[in-house]
Symmetry: C2
Subunit: 342 residues, 2 copies
């Protein structure tokens, strides 16, 4: 590439000052231009599967804030959707799927996944063409455990009890499902990298509800399987792992899975984050509610993170997706303050 992209430098272990910044769920409901585009789509999945619309909403926060990375607009549930799990989004209630059991797992067939996901690949290709040269393009997928929690419960739940219980009772079927999802995820990420993604992030949003043994079996092992499979094809592939809520289990997650960088949720204490940063790049971790609370709270949180992590490889981000209540002007203030301009 002609221009060196800041986030790629950090992901290789360099310290960039001020740190580059992007925002999880940056293309989202807090932006009026997103809501306008969203209203033209029949449903949420149509937005993901219509390249014109997916590209447009992905570019919106780049135009507004000049963020250092753009992340493909999509959803972690496109993989179960490619497996005919009847994914739909109920307004105000979140996702619904036809819940799956051990028999159903045995019948899952990923054969048609790339055809199903062709519009996503097209969006990635067009994004790389339309994005500014200096902007990193990130691909992503959900981690197998997190995707499986939705497939088993048929919906989001507060503590993923249905999937945890299934994992205890039907361990073999659960591992079969996780292996299948890991292999699909690797294939999906590889195609995103081939179409122009500079790096990919794997979101394990529900890794914080498992005990140590289950975390190892259901989170670490499938993530390592993804990393190994992707690297077998693309040895220089750059992968960010985000085991949200992993707490103490962040400790050797990078070493055990092989990911290059660690996404940190907002509950990770900064002293611990600095320890994790000694082993490589970290990304995070402002509480999204600080953005809602206003500029004083943003400034205080940003300054604490920069003090603790600014002298090492850091990608500034929130510790979880931005919320619809965030004021777009305050998001602008956040970006400016991280860049030392406000």
């Amino acid at each position: 590439m002609a221009v060196e992209r800041k986030i790629m430098k950090v992901l290789k272990g360099e310290t960039v000052t001020p740190p580059p910044i992007w925002i999880m769920r940056q293309a989202g409901r807090y932006l009026p231009e997103y809501r306008k585009t969203r209203a033209t789509a029949k449903g949420f999945l149509d937005l993901c599967y219509t390249p014109d619309l997916a590209v447009e909403v992905t570019l919106q926060p780049i135009r507004r804030y000049g963020l250092d990375a753009s992340i493909l607009f999509s959803d972690i549930l496109v993989l179960p959707d490619a497996l005919d799990c009847n994914v739909r989004f109920v307004e105000g209630e979140g996702p619904r799927l036809d819940p799956i059991n051990a028999d159903g797992i045995a019948r899952l067939d990923p054969t048609g996944m790339h055809d199903h996901l062709a519009p996503v690949y097209e969006a990635v290709r067009r994004l790389r063409q339309e994005l500014p040269e200096e902007t990193t393009l990130l691909g992503f997928c959900g981690a197998p455990w997190t995707v499986a929690t939705y497939m088993i419960a048929g919906r989001g739940t507060p503590d993923q009890a249905p999937a945890r219980l299934f994992g205890y009772r039907e361990r073999a079927a659960m591992e079969r499902l996780l292996d299948l999802l890991a292999d699909m995820s690797a294939a999906y990420l590889l195609r995103q990298l081939e179409e122009g993604a500079d790096a990919v992030q794997v979101f394990d949003s529900w890794s914080g509800v498992l005990d140590e043994e289950m975390f190892e079996a259901f989170c670490v092992r499938p993530m390592k399987r993804i990393v190994d499979t992707v690297r077998a094809q693309k040895p220089d592939a750059t992968i960010i792992g985000f085991p949200k809520g992993a707490g103490m289990l962040y400790r050797d997650y990078r070493q055990r899975t092989g990911v290059d960088a660690l996404g940190l949720d907002w509950t990770v204490p900064l002293s611990f984050a600095a320890e994790l940063q000694k082993d490589g790049p970290v990304q995070g971790n402002l509480d999204p509610l600080r953005v809602v609370a206003g500029r004083e709270t943003i400034r205080d949180g940003v300054d604490r993170i920069l003090d603790a992590l600014g002298n090492g490889p850091l990608i500034f981000n929130l510790g979880h997706g931005i919320t619809p209540q965030a004021d777009p002007d305050d998001v602008g203030y956040l970006v400016d303050h991280v860049r030392g301009k406000a």
Copy 2:
């Protein structure tokens, strides 16, 4: 006391083999005898405030399993109830309160709390008389932050966003509320200790949703205030702190708050739990869903905990309250297996 109570020995730092055991929410809906008694009460709070009924349900799991501790049957929301927050329990939906704002906080008046809570104190007194001599009697309360999350939102929420946002926006009012609740909690725990509780546990069930600075301000500081206030009156008072979901922030929680023992949730890895145990007693931490999943899963989980923590001061417990789906016979198996009898 004539008989030395095993849990009190552990709380003083001794290793007891096999470890004593009790179960969070052991008087609960999984027991048919509980459901029968519950049906005779008008509502959930009537069960808490009617000493005959509260004593009966507290004793039920002791009769059935001979557990090493009995914990007063009550609820963490009796303090907001004593503050006229209109606490009610909606069947199948959990607690509801009249949500409070900064003005409401300024008007809270704890003057009548001991009169309001007199039935609880009577239950404690009668329990100490009726329990077997060797059974430890535990009192408890909710931690100020956790209680405050319900008072501010008026209900439980998945991530306590209303209270977190209030804490950022109205920091002074939040700290005023937490101080008030800490002082009430200390007074409440002291009365429980005077009426016969051997030790007390403070449940901070929602400590896992805060960033490091807020955890310090909203969880650590109020807990320390409780500990200091109780110890000023009763220097030998024994206090178990349970900052559920604290993750890495468990690391120096004991030192910063002054609690004698740490309750560990099921996501705390056992290698880390063993480190925490070097500084004093720990309690936990079997995933409650292992009990639902059946005996093989129970045995595996128990053995891992005993291997990691059995050679130090350990009170065996679940890592969170037992669920209504648990089979009472499997709970019996759990108790027997911990005791080396199954």
